[in-house]
Every structure is written in structure tokens, then in C-alpha cells.
Symmetry: D2
Subunit: 337 residues, 4 copies
């Protein structure tokens, strides 16, 4: 931590800050210039609330030097993490496509869709059984019955499965059926849920909160990893801005930013980011071109009849064409598909 004193701050003010720091067990390096003193604070500064020192008389600014997250940081682990779910490696050379319906509705719906996306080359099957709906009057998901259908469909087409967990009490019941547990944007800072997921040993797909900074997102990953579960996949899904032409603003820059700051795999979800089918295709191409490790896409064999988010679901044929386009792009980022 760096504490910058005001220009010409009185010596006793500098002394008071130094005394406080030493009293708390930190080492202090003092750098005195012609008209300004700067203090370098050494020790476990993660425990300090920097605003405490901002309020001392004579202090101009306080900077936190070290990142508050550790386990998810590239500083902590240089080489990229590959998370493996039922044999599918996420974060490696291959760009992984995860696809399937927003919500599991029936055996037929899931099977038809699963066969379509598997044939086109998707490796992970998505499908929601517990649905976070902004209105209490909307359909809330099929629950465990849906998960059984997901497992069966995944087995038939040889795909790993991913589904959202909303509540601690659901975790145990999901484990037999789901290869990757997804934490939705609205739960990114549900710290009790994150801690509970740190106790299991299955990959977690952690969506970015609607207005979470990248640092907060990595701290959320830290909650999971601090419990010993290091298999975290990050998923960008759009942030909230003033623009209303799309449901959210896909933060495409987050892909190279995460790539630099963290060793965890980073994928993105163009379906929730845009909210409309005709925008999903160009965004999916952009995500791969930006260097993401994967894409999470909603596909429905009959979107007009979808219980939820039909308008942002691709038709199977559209998805197949998109896969062809992505295959053209991957060599440009030195990847395969």
C-alpha cells in the first residue's frame, strides 16, 4: 500500500500516520521529496481498509498495490488452468462450445435439441432446471426431474452437462446429473452459495454479475477457490450500461483483460448479453475472435414454443451455420475447434 502525503504536510502529520502503521505491525518505507512525502507500507495489507488512512490529516491519497485476490491471479499461477468436465477440456487449445435450451421443458425438447447441437460440434449441453426469474409469477423450472432428462440426453449424445444452481440446498441433488454447476449473474455475490461450492469437487461456471467489476468477479472466484475447489470457469454475459438497444452490453474487452489477470478459463454468453437471436450470431463470432476459451449459446429446436427466452435462442440450423463460421475464425487466434 502506498500513502501519498499532501504537499508540505507537517512532519507531525507524517509521524502520526507512520506511528499508526507501525503500531499495527507494518513496515514503512519513507520517501521524502522536495515538497512531498510518500510512504510505502509492507506487510499483510489485505486486512486494511484504505479509507481509514485517507481520513488522516495530511494524507492526500492511498493506493492499494497488490490485487486483493490471490488464487485466481496470474501472479499466483503463471500457466493457464485447464478445467476438465467429463473429459472435455476447457481452457486448452480447443475452443469449447456449450449449447442447449434455456430451460429444460420435456424429454423430446431436450433430446431433439441435444442431437442437433452435438452433430454441429458442441461439447457441453446446457439446460436450466432451476430458473432465476425476475417475476415471481413466471415458470420456475422442472427441478430434479429436469436434471435427469439433462443427464440422459448428455449421455446419449456424449456431451458433458451444465446447469444453474441457485441455492445451497440444491447442490447435493445436482451432483449426480450435472458436470458443471453454473452460478448465475444474480448470485455472483451470494457469498454463502460460493463458499458451499468451494466444498465440492466439480467445475463451477461463474457468470459475471450484471454490474460487477472484473476485480469483484475474481474475488467471487476466490470465495470458491478458498474452499479448495480450483475448477472455476469464468463467463462474461454482458454488463449493464445506459444503452438500451441490447438487453446488456457484452464487455468483449473482458476476455483479453481476464486472460492477462487470471489463469482461469474465460468464456462468454452472447445469448443473455444481447437478448435477441439476430445479435447472437455476430457476437458469438466476436467472442471467439477476441480469444475466448469457449462460448455458451442458447439453442432450441422450436424457439417459438420455448417456455423461456425463446427470442434469444438460435434455431438448430442457424447454430450449425454459426459453427461453420467459427471454424473459419479459430485459426486466426491459434486455436482449434
Amino acid at each position: 500500500m502506498i500513502i501519498v502525503m499532501e504537499k508540505h504536510a507537517a512532519d507531525e502529520r507524517v509521524e502520526r500516520v507512520v506511528a499508526e502503521l507501525i503500531g499495527r505491525g507494518f513496515d514503512v518505507h519513507r520517501s521524502t521529496g522536495a515538497d512531498q512525502t510518500v510512504l510505502g507500507v509492507v506487510g499483510d495489507v489485505a486486512s486494511i481498509d484504505q479509507r481509514e488512512f485517507e481520513l488522516f490529516d495530511g494524507v492526500q491519497e492511498v493506493f492499494r498495490v497488490s490485487e486483493p485476490y490471490k488464487l485466481s491471479s496470474r501472479t499466483f499461477k503463471r500457466e493457464k488452468t485447464i478445467v476438465t468436465a467429463r473429459g472435455v477440456p476447457i481452457g486448452g487449445h480447443e475452443v469449447i462450445i456449450m449449447a442447449g435450451p434455456c430451460t429444460i421443458e420435456s424429454e423430446e425438447q431436450l433430446l431433439v435439441t441435444a442431437r442437433g447441437v452435438a452433430k454441429a460440434g458442441a461439447r457441453v449441453l446446457r439446460g436450466g432446471a432451476y430458473k432465476p426469474r425476475s417475476s415471481p409469477y413466471a415458470f420456475q423450472g422442472m427441478g430434479v426431474e429436469g436434471l435427469k432428462l439433462l443427464r440422459a440426453a448428455g449421455d446419449e449424445v456424449d456431451m458433458a452437462t451444465v446447469s444453474e444452481v441457485m441455492e445451497i440446498s440444491q447442490i447435493e441433488g445436482m451432483l449426480p446429473y450435472v458436470d458443471i454447476l453454473q452460478v448465475g449473474a444474480r448470485n455472483m455475490q451470494n457469498f454463502n452459495l460460493l463458499s458451499a461450492l468451494g466444498q465440492i469437487r466439480k467445475p463451477i461456471l461463474l457468470k459475471r454479475g450484471m454490474s460487477a467489476t472484473i476485480q469483484e468477479w475474481l474475488l467471487a472466484a476466490e470465495y470458491i477457490m478458498a474452499g479448495g475447489n480450483y475448477e472455476v470457469i469464468l463467463c462474461e454475459r454482458g454488463i449493464r450500461t445506459f444503452e438500451t438497444a441490447t438487453r446488456n452490453t457484452l464487455d468483449i474487452s473482458a476476455i483479453p483483460v481476464i486472460e492477462k489477470l487470471s489463469h482461469l478459463p474465460i468464456i462468454a454468453d452472447p445469448s443473455h448479453a444481447s437478448g435477441r437471436r439476430d445479435k447472437v450470431v455476430p457476437l458469438a463470432r466476436a467472442i471467439v475472435a477476441a480469444g475466448a476459451d469457449g462460448v455458451l449459446i442458447e439453442v432450441h429446436h422450436d424457439p417459438e414454443k420455448a417456455v423461456c427466452d425463446g427470442p434469444q435462442s438460435l434455431y438448430p440450423a442457424q447454430f450449425a451455420r454459426l459453427m461453420d463460421e467459427l471454424r473459419i475464425i479459430v485459426p486466426a487466434v491459434g486455436r482449434s475447434m
Copy 2:
């Protein structure tokens, strides 16, 4: 719901939309102008995802006419709701001040602070026992032991108590000690928690999510009310914007907006909104001047030693001076204190 067709849309395109609507059991009013047709859809349109119709050929735009929330709306209930917690009426003529430390740390800390804020005129005592911390390495709260201290302190100074609930499993243990259960900003869309709180019969203080629209906030209240618990207090606490000079941007306009849209009491929290003591005082005055039903303020008898958020906690003497200033302001909004 209103569906606006494109200019000169072919008749068969209009017919297709109308047929779909009628097939789903809605009534349709058709208004045909010189070059444009507009369809009014009547029935329980809350179940429609408007994007489905946006994707029909020939459709230009779709507007949802009715608010998606019901129980929290002024349309549903004209007269203002007064929520009463241990005899303290929130939403009535009196502006209610809730004050106390961010985190309960010890019996002495809580008692000294409670006596100070009670003497100055605060009616509700706040204090956190379960703390949502963005880092897993930070102090997570005293739990039930803290709640017992809160109850004892509240009883001594004759104040109602408010404390945050983070997880369904904590609810039952909190009921004996807490008069108002607070849902934090990060849990505003933790729908399972909201539903569970709909099953109890105690007032809920629902903080606005960091990037929640006012409509989403009212829908979150709806989750609680749909369960039969109508005692919801809304609390504005700052939204996330590009400005970094303050921790969050207090959305002061939310106060008159909520006042118009909803019958629920609306208060605001200047401590979390600004994150710094020297900004809390002017914001608290502004909140009351804007017409809020109350203010939630962090006060600590010794902020330098506070375990959490000390820099945004007022000193008891500062709080007392603020109360004097608020007493000057309340007649300007036709209220008492």
C-alpha cells in the same frame, strides 16, 4: 400490450400476428391508420415475452403497457403503507432514523453506540451479525451471539432492531432478536431468499441492488409480497456508475420516483452510498429534503477501531449534530421527527 406494425406491412403479416394472439387466448383491438396498423392486446399479457412478437415479420415495435409488478404498485393500493416494527411506524408522518454500527463487535461497542444514537433521537438500532464481504479473507460477523447483543441493546434503549439476513438457513435463528430483517444489495435478486422471507411475518428492509432498475427492485419486493408478507421497506443505497469519486452514486431521484409508483415506505442509506464520513452528512440531509420516510446511517462510538466500514461511520457527536440539522429540514417536507 401494444404491437406496432411496420409502415405498409402486408395484410397477411398483420393477420399472422393477430392469429397467434387469438390462438393464445388474447383479445385484439386493431387500429388501422393511413399507413400503419397498431394492435392492442388485452388479457393476461404478463405471461408473454414481448420479444417473441418483436421477431415476427412486419412488426416494428412492441410495448408493454402494464407494470409487471402488482402488489407493490400504487395502482393496486392507493394509500401509503405504514410498516410498524416494535411500535415504530415507518412510512407515516414521522421521518424515522435508523442508526448503529456496521458490524456488531462487542457488548460494549454496541451499548455505547446505541445509547448515543437513542439519545440523539434514532428509533431503530442497526447492527450486522452476518456480513457479506467481497473478500473471503475478511471478518464474516459474530452470528447469533451478535444478534443477542443487538436485542439486549435495543431493549435497553427502547429501539427496534434491524440486521441483515444472507441465507435462508439464518432466518429462523434471527426471528427472536430482530424486528426488521434486511436484505442486502447483493441479494436483491436472490429469489429463493426472497420467497422464504415472504413466508414470515416480520418487516423486511429491501435494499436496491447495485445496478437494479427501479422496476426490478419493485419486482423483488413482489417476490416477498407474493408470499403474503406485505411489510416491505425499500432502501436506496447508491447505484453503480462511471463516477469513482464516491463508492456509489446515491440515486436521490429514486425517492420521489418510488413515492409515485409504489405505496411502500422508501428510505435511503447515505453511508454505503458514499463510503466516506464527510459525505454522509450532506447526503443524509438531502435524503430527508427529497421526501424519504427515513434514513439508515452507520454510527460507531470509535470508528478508528471499527472492524468494518469505520471510514463511513459517523462519530456519535457528529450524528447528534446531523439530527439537529434534520429537525430543521423536516417541516419543509411537511413531516415531523
Copy 3:
């Protein structure tokens, strides 16, 4: 325009709104449902401020049906516009790369950079002679002397030229040297400047304002086009959000959104959007993959010595590699390069 009356609004309130509309010369279509009346307003509603009607007693909501922009809209002109600058077609089959230094510093700097980008395949040479600097103490550009260097360099390598105009008084002096006049983000709503640019007959590259909605951006284009200058190229350059990891948040979704709403060419600038060289390359790939008509990139032969924005400028060799990557991507969007 659609006016939705409140449920059970008294007839006389409906009558008052209708009378006002008819008094102003509009036609009104009335649709009366079981419990709600909806009014469709026909005529030149662009002149109405919809809030006027929102304030009438009994009115619940007012929707504007037609877009407020005309000349820039796909409704007005279905086929895509190709803007041609010194023989370079922007908006056609070929993806056009514009490259060069942020600021023109010297003949040598510009020539070395121009030769590098021309060889790699760029078609338009950029270079600033008038610089909008947020601090009055920073270098403000070489002015006309710089423009002469730009023209000479463009001629030598056979590229069109683009440079920013900040002030009406600069326009005339720029015309002999510049093929495309750029309006910067900070001037997107400098309406006097836009109107003046509507009077000339040269292509205008209109950057999106830092917090402009897409609709405001198209209205700014309208200012230029209303004067008779239809040669407008739109350029997305990042919007301001709460995220601070990048200078701005590139709104990649704006590319398909503009493609649908407008017939004007749409390009994007990854250099200003990200502010850092290592993010420019992945964003440039994403921009092309999303379907943009071109990319505007800062390149400097010696970025460490650049007077301005060196950290976001690519090295010529980096730029050449990027061009190779983009050539891999373009077939995926059905384009050439």
C-alpha cells in the same frame, strides 16, 4: 405515438387528451377495451414532446412509435450506403482498414508509419492535426502544417486520408488535404459543427459520443445529412461504464444493431476503446468478426516516442500480423480484405 390511458380513466379525461390532439391537427384512433383505452396518434408527431401528454390526468404511458431520425434509417433507405473516399469504398464487400498515428508529429514519423501500414494493406491513412486534449497543458497538434504532411504521405503510398475537425473555422482549411473529416466523440453533439459539415460534400466519419445512445448517434448523423451531405461513416469507439480495467467499454453489439437500424457504414476504433496496445489486437479481430465495415487503428513507427497515445499504438510489425489474422476472419462474415 401511442397514448395508454390508466385503467378505468374517466371518459372526460380521455376526451381532454383527444381534444388536445385534434386541436393540434392530429388524427386519433381510439381503441377501447374492457377496462382501458388506448389512443393511436397519427400525423407529424416528431414535433411533440411526449412528456407533455404523460402529464395529462388519466394518462398512464406514452410511447413514440416512429424513430426520430429519418435520413439515416433503414426504413428510409433499404440498401446499404457505400461511402467512397478517394476511390476507397467504405460499406461495400471489402473490409477497410484505416491506420496511422494518433498525432502527426513530423514528416519522417508520418512517412515511415504510412509506408508500413500501406504495405500491410491499410487503405486509409489517419493522423491528427487538431487534437482535443482533456488538459489545456497538453500538445494541441500541428495544424495545417500537419495536414500538408498527411496529404503528401497519403499521395506517396496511395491512401485516402482522414483527420479530425474540432471547429467550424478549421473546415475550409482542411478540405484540400483531407478525404474524410472525422468528428470526435466529444463533439458528437456539437450541433453547430455538425450543421456546418452538412454543407460540405466530403465524407464525414462520426464517432459515437462517450455516453451517447445509438439513437442520439443516428440523430447526430441526421444533423449532417439534413444539410445534404449523405456521406456519413459511423464509428463505435467505446462507451463509458463502471468498468475501469479498460479506458472505455467497446460496445461490440453496436455493430449488428447499427447494421439493422441504419444503411450507413459502421466501423470501430479498438485503440481508443481499450487504451492499451495489448488489448487492441483481440478487439480488432472481434470488430471484424462482428461484421463491421472497417477498423480504425493507431499505429506508430516508434510508440515509445509518440507525443500522444503511444501506449495504445501498435508497432508496424504487430499491425502486419494483425492484418494477417483479419484476412483469416473475413470469409467468416462473407467479406474480403
Copy 4:
């Protein structure tokens, strides 16, 4: 400027950064901890683009210590500036209310409104003669004819006058009629205009840009002050956020933030911030309670007939009631009115 090297950065990397700094004429203080080196850079660092050093190998982070603005800073000038316009002191003990119509429409409209607001206690008369309209098809203002009416009305009721300047060419023609020249939000970074206003000797009312940070706003003031015109009044008018319930989000916290960072007077405009009459009154009260030096309010004697922004204009009687409420509040902030 502070440069933080990565943990265990190789000595030669540290040396390279130090050599570069010394080569540019800066002094460097080096602080070497157990595992990390921090460099303090002394000299005129305002000229450095900090990203240049962020890109050096081995550099972890770079912090700018000093504010980039000088003349507008409290560090530069401790005592509050009082700007005086035709005898009206802005920034002193008295809270100054500026009121009048959005747009000057006619002699009668202006006179009736001016008499109303003068009688209620307003000290400065506002009225637009050049209007920045987002659509080219909207009324653009009466120009000099309007300014003459403004001067005459101001003289009759003994008020100072304020009106917006949009273009350098308008300045000279405005000087005889206007006591305060207003720079609108859209022109906050129109640097040529700001520089030109630095050459005159009349107070400037500088509105905050729609998405300007407070630092950028102070830098815009710096442009004016660098020319020798120190009479700058800052005006908060709402920033752009994701919330759509109000036109903009009034950043009420900006008032105490500016009060701390700058010696310039700070006022706010609730009319543009909210866009609706029923929100203007509570926001105006909040602005005064937060400690602002003044309020800028739109009032129209007949808002239904207003050419522009009628829905956000107060009726004269509403304005008079608001003034009474503000008179109750001012003692709470130690001010008079």
C-alpha cells in the same frame, strides 16, 4: 507519480525504468522492500502518459499522485471563490436561485415569467436563445433577438441574466446582454469554445457533461481558467446511468465532492436532471440540503404552451412554494436565502 514494480522484478527491469525516467529529467526515489520495489517520480509529471510506463516489462502498476488540474483545485487556492454577476454573489453565504424559461419565446412570455420568479426571490434570470437540440428538426432558438428580450426583462426586475453559448462566433454578440455565459453539457469538452471563453472577462456557468467524471469537469474549468478567466461556476445536471425512470441521474454527491476538491462555486439543475416537473421540487430541496451554492430551475408562466421542455418547467406558483420550502432548509446548512 508512483511506479510499483512486480514482486521479484529483476533488477535490470527496475534499472531500465529508472534510466528512462532520469533520461527525461525526473528525480526518482527508490523504495526497496523485501520482495517489491516502488519508485517515486518527482518533477513535472503532468506531461507523462502513465500508460507508457505500465507497458514496461516488470511494471505492475502506475499511480498518478497529483491532480491534473491546478487553478480549479483547493490545493491551489484554499478559500472559496465568490463569482459576482451584476452584483449577485455566487458562492457566498447566500444560496442563489436562478430561474426562468428553457427557451425565450416572446417578450410577454419572458416578462410574465421574470416577474413571477423575481417576486419569489430568484436573483438570476435564465433563458435560452441558442438551443442545442438533439434533432435537427426542432426549434433552434431566437438568437440575438431573444437576448435583447432577456436583457430588458432582467433590467426590469433587477436580475442578472444567464444564457447558453454554443459556438465561438456567438460570444461577442452575447456580451452586451448576458451576465453569465452558460456552457451546456454537450459542449463541456468543446475545447476550442472553452479556450475562447477563457479570453473574456465574464462569469461562465459550466455544466457537467452527461458522462463526465468530476476530474474531467475540473479539467474543463481549467481550460477556461488557463486563459485568465477565473470566474467559473460549476453546475451538476445529472449523469447518464442505466436507470430510465428519470431522464438522468442527479449526482447529488458531486456537491460535497466538488466542495472538497475545488474552490469554485457549485450549483445544480434539477430540471434537466429529472426531466419532469413533479420530480424537480424534491430534487431542488435535496440540492440545497446537500450544501450547494445555488439552484438553476426552469419556470414557465404557461408550460403547456412552452416551445421546449414544458414538462419539466414549474408553474410560477409552484416555484413560489418551493422557494418557501428552501427558506426553511437553508439554516440547516448554515446559509441564508
